[in-house]
Amino acid sequence: MKEIKQQMIDRILKAFPDAKNTDYDGNRLDIAIKKESVPALLMHAKEEMGFRHLSHIAYIDWIEQGEFEIVYILWSPSDKLKLFIRTRIDRENPVMDNIDMIWRQANTYQREMREMLGIEFPGMVAPDEFILEDWDDIPPFRKDFNTLEYVNRTFWHRPGREDAQDVRETITKRSGEEIPDFAKKYSR
């Protein structure tokens, strides 16, 4: 499998000189590329290299860098390889190419991205509302969306949570175990 994987990486890097490869163990190929080349690379991977299946489109909000990252996850049934194609787009003006003519199911993922992050896909034909209805705030999966503040404004809280005890501390007192450092930040 290693030879096939290396061959695949070489073919991609030869066809797309601006692509950057990150090495991963196992059956995972990970390619970062600029956003203009994404449809061409997806088309190439689907038609020439056997990555016929679009598993998922993931999205990440890198608020510190002012960018959104979109990850297209493809699967090759013949070679049993996963291909991750990463691209970054500007956070202020989020526009990405529509790819639902390559895979029809990408339409659903793109509708979700449009609603949850506010990314625009010019040329995509889909109804306006997907999961959220009557939404009039900034898209809720952006990191600068303050969920608790929105909840305080929209819904009500029943009193009683203020003096809630931390279960973890009660358990450590009873059993005498220490809370590990990584878990301390989750304690109240």
Partner: protein
Amino acid sequence: MYNDKNSQKIVDIIQNYARKHSLWVLAYGTGCGAIEIAPTMTSRYDAERLGIRGAATPRQADVLLITGYLTVKTVKRVVRVYEQMQDPKYVIGFGSCTINGGMYYDSYNTINLLDRYLPVDVYINGCMPRPEAVIQGFVKLQELISQGKANGAAKYKENLEWYKANQKKIAPKWFERAPEYNW
């Protein structure tokens, strides 16, 4: 329901006796709580021996069991379903999500307090409540019915504007278009 001596009329006692022994539950699950309904209804706990059984449509049902969290999108449909049900009708809030939001109390898309949007007769605590707790909740509802105290539907009619204002606060466009509740 009560006369001037603060006791029920005989006709009400008979009526409530009949009502409490035939609670038809709308087969409608909103959240993860619906998973506890199957063992409650089937042979292990067999809720039908208490007269509790499923109904297919809102118009045939007496009890609306809100099983778990309600998203804003589901609230719209639940309110619609509740208004389609005919008297007598009761609401049971199932699980801590309906009481105070549960583990979703800071979620942008789930409501926290069910009783701001629908009149709740009985709450069942727990995450999840076991089938025993569910049956306990139904028994409590039967008690309230036989005492003539399960009057959530009357409360909804009396305070309709308050409930409607709360519902419109979370989904203004939808509830503007919704049909009037006037029967």
